[in-house]
């Protein structure tokens, strides 16, 4: 049994043994100075490594290496016949047996001249301690082999053959604590560079500066504040492989997958049919603001801002209930943590049989299904994320006690109990973001929920396809759904009769026969279309706001902003 090493930091700091890592936090003052210092230290480390390698080569030449076949760069002919096993599946019955593991080097350090410790990591943040010590006879492990393993660069990928053993005491720095691996073969499958652009330590911490500059020379953001390496969002996104390898990033991505799957599962089992709206469209449908344009075989094309019209075409085409998942585009020059130019929309549309609250209740149902699914089955991921990005528990309404206010009731509550600056809000104008947040706080206090519905939005706050309430033409059969005081879903009943549509289009100062609108109205002119309604959710925002992340860019797989198109 090997003694556990005294100090293998879970999160490698600036210059751990065997490799150099640069983590950073931006502070404008002294940024360059610190960067220069970091570069200098890295150079120092590199030279030391070179000296070490030279010594190693000398000593290797001096004494024959009997383990030479058991380590080094992997060849395509290399065989590792022992049972392959994933770290999470190692059990008592494996003790004493030889297994094969393929993993990343999360840490590596020498312990004297004859022993080295490594931490090996697999998907899902499963880590285990590996031990390698030179045998007296020089095989299967030689001193040269130990040195080679102890100096492997962090985040290299290796294939090892090892015997499973129980450590003298539980290993605290790894997820697998009751077992360790005694390496007998170790091959380098893919080497990491001398210096990582972002170390796993900083990648695993909360991002610092949120303003994403997408600078290709990210040195300004690579500043190290001693003891607390924190990297800016830009550094994270410019180092996608390391950013994504961090356990917190993997957990966020897993939650994101769950949200989409829960959305689809709920709808599929309720008779909703999936379809794919196009991204390329022939006309800017909703007025032409904030739409990307591109040359298209001598004409002009546009990128869809929402699947709205196409969801409705599906209903016109004889489907009772449809949903879709796909990218939508906004050419809005908004550089905030709330905005992206491309994001994934989760949308649904359905026939209304008697009342548009059938739609409202379905949307409420699907969101509650998502929130409860996360709460019940993603506790571990959420706890991990919370340890990096703190958040209060997302409060859900009790079953049958869902909170639904009309827009006017919301405004009345704000006037009566909100901050003094909202004492005179009216029922005819849309809410501002600060108003929404203040109302969210009031509702959390009053109803103990972070999730609620605002119904009957004023007509001026809605697009032309929103159906006016037949009992009160100043408001619409349209609603917003709110999470932690922020709008997460917008939807409502649509106008389904062509002559009514012409009226509402004209009321907005538009022409029912203008390009992009005419083709839409024509579909309703071409057949009888039943009453219908729906709503759309931004996948990234649901994830970010459920988890209370500081930026929606942390929820996206590859965020797109006015300043960022890469990687």
């Amino acid at each position: 049994m090997a003694e556990p090493p005294k100090e293998i930091p879970t999160h490698p700091a600036l210059t751990p043994a065997g490799s150099s890592t640069a983590d950073g936090e931006t502070s404008k003052k002294g940024a360059k100075k610190a960067a220069a210092k970091a570069a200098k230290e890295a150079e120092k480390a590199r030279k030391a490594a070179e000296r070490e390698a030279a010594q190693l080569a000398q000593s290797a030449a001096a004494s024959e290496d009997l383990a030479v076949e058991n380590y080094g760069d992997i060849k395509h002919t290399t065989k590792l016949p022992a049972e392959k096993i994933h770290l999470k599946n190692i059990q008592e019955e494996n003790v004493g047996k030889t297994i094969t593991v393929r993993a990343w080097i999360q840490n590596a350090r020498m312990q004297g001249a004859k022993m080295a410790f490594v931490e090996l990591r697999e998907e899902g943040n499963w880590t285990i301690q590996g031990v390698v010590s030179a045998s007296a006879e020089g095989k299967p492990v030689s001193k040269q082999m130990v040195k080679w393993i102890g100096s492997l660069k962090l985040e290299s990928f290796v294939a090892v053959e090892a015997v499973v053993q129980k450590p003298l005491e539980l290993v605290k720095s790894t997820k697998v604590q009751g077992f360790e691996l005694h390496l007998q073969k170790c091959y380098l499958v893919a080497a990491a560079p001398e210096m990582l652009g972002l170390g796993l330590g900083a990648a695993s911490r909360a991002v610092g500066k949120l303003d994403d500059e997408d600078i290709s020379e990210a040195t300004e953001n690579l500043v190290i504040t001693e003891g607390t390496p924190v990297a800016s969002l830009a550094v994270h996104l410019n180092n996608p492989a390391m950013h994504k390898r961090a356990p917190v990033s993997q957990a966020i991505a897993d939650v994101r997958i769950a949200v989409e799957d829960l959305f689809c599962e709920y709808l599929r089992t309720r008779g909703f049919k999936k379809f794919h709206p196009p991204s390329l469209i022939g006309a800017a449908s909703e007025g032409g603001a904030n739409v990307f344009r591109l040359p298209y075989f001598g004409k002009e094309a546009f990128l869809a801002q929402s699947p709205q019209f196409y969801k409705q075409f599906e209903i016109a085409g004889g489907r009772k209930r449809v949903y879709c998942v796909g990218p939508v585009f906004r050419a809005e020059n908004s550089n905030t943590p709330r905005h992206m130019t491309e994001f994934i929309g989760l949308d649904l549309e359905m026939e209304i049989e008697e009342h548009y609250h059938e739609v409202l209740h379905t949307l409420e149902g699907v969101l509650l299904h998502i929130f409860k699914g996360l709460r019940d089955n993603y506790r571990e991921e959420i706890e991990l994320i919370r340890s990096i990005y703190p958040s209060e528990e997302f409060l859900l309404p009790e079953e049958g006690k869902e909170v639904r206010l009309t827009f006017a009731e919301g405004q009345a509550l704000l006037r009566a109990e909100g901050p003094p600056e909202f004492a005179n809000v009216t029922d005819d104008e849309d809410m501002s973001t600060p108003q929404e947040k203040a109302l969210g706080a009031l509702i959390r206090k009053k109803y103990n929920t972070d999730f609620y519905v605002l119904d009957k939005f004023p007509i001026d706050a809605r697009p032309f396809y929103a159906l006016p309430d037949p009992e009160n033409p100043k408001v619409t059969n349209a609603y917003d759904f709110m999470m932690r005081g922020q709008e997460i879903l917008s939807g409502g009943q649509r106008v389904h009769l062509p002559h009514e549509l012409e009226k509402t289009i004209k009321a907005k100062g538009l022409d029912p026969n203008q390009p992009g609108i005419k083709e839409y109205v024509d579909v309703f002119r071409s057949v009888g279309v039943p009453p219908h309604g729906g709503g759309g959710i931004g996948l990234d925002r649901v994830v970010a706001w459920y988890l209370n992340l500081p930026s929606v860019h942390l929820a996206a797989d590859y965020p797109r902003t006015p300043k960022r198109l890469a990687p």
Copy 2:
């Protein structure tokens, strides 16, 4: 019990009672003449309808209408309290009971002055016969009400209250044959126009002319050939609501949903994680040909031609297995039934542990899962589609007898047993489409399968990221999967080491540091990335070729071609 009407055609022909329908086949000769004739007849029908309406108004004024509350335009206050039931769920126990149904008028005709027959249709092509006859006392049904129902325009949407009855004999023209509905109330929810741009009859038949001109004035395509109304693809696509209402279109869309769901299900249960690659990218990654470009906040952006690089970034980012579903874009001016400018890609990428055939077998597994899922669970849809678009059974290999040839073996088979023009094909050049089809026919004959793999493609036929075979650098660890002699999937093992990548990039005459490529290579320079491989399928093509549709545009929800951006 009502007598069934003598002739309610299942597919309404040119001018059925109650509405006019224009179906058409294009024949350049005489097209305008026929169109003019059709317009004339429509005008005649309209005038006749006006006269009829005037007469009706007169007679209504003459005798009081006691059923006036039981029909007409629906109001938002209208209540239909009887049990709502879907047509497919009507059973013996409903006989004699009053139910509510919301459906389309698929056909309507008067039978004398006091009785009318309608066909009502719901989603999934469920149709039922409705009967309405005036009672002696004039309520609940009056003569006026019968006339009004008998003259409803086809494809209008209605809400009816009716008593379920058993017809004297089975109704042959509807899907529900053992029951009929005796209407007592009928409200018009949404009226169809006088003249449909495409009738359900033509919409339900195979498309005629495939060359999609996307003309806004589609009269040329609206020509009627007596007895056999057939509409061109352009007419279908210009009338999306009616095109989609056709049972064959709904069945194709259902098969398409199944392909996507089966793909995702197979991978999800095997540890694959979903992600969303971006559509907007900062550089034309694969040489710059056939890529859409757009202005992007003072810079230039491009639309992704594939998720290739991003799938690999996910592997670099610590995922073992990933998949994605989303649009990809090709700015190729190809106006053929095989091409689209936007289509849905189903892609996967996975870590390779020992041999790239792990990937090949996974891809084979997912495709066989799709094909078997369709064969076993979508028999009805496939039969319906085959009745319109004939196709031979899609032959699958026996389990354990999957057909895998190397590219060289495929070429040898072509040389030995193929048509004489392929007697001299070489092992170094990519196959042409005619070669592929000839080989497909040979393999079907020899191995009794429409699905097989061609492995080890020559290096010149593959992009720079394809890994050369370490044993034979003239070929790659890359494969195509074939369906009915056409390529449906392209994939292989990727180069995962940055210095090897630099070599293969240079070998293709490209620069490893050029924009778009540098950012890609940088990811492999930034960390150690394990060996990996994958493949991508075009969703629309899998559907079209499995069903042997004459055009991939019939498989897409909203096909995009150089000539078509609408609806």
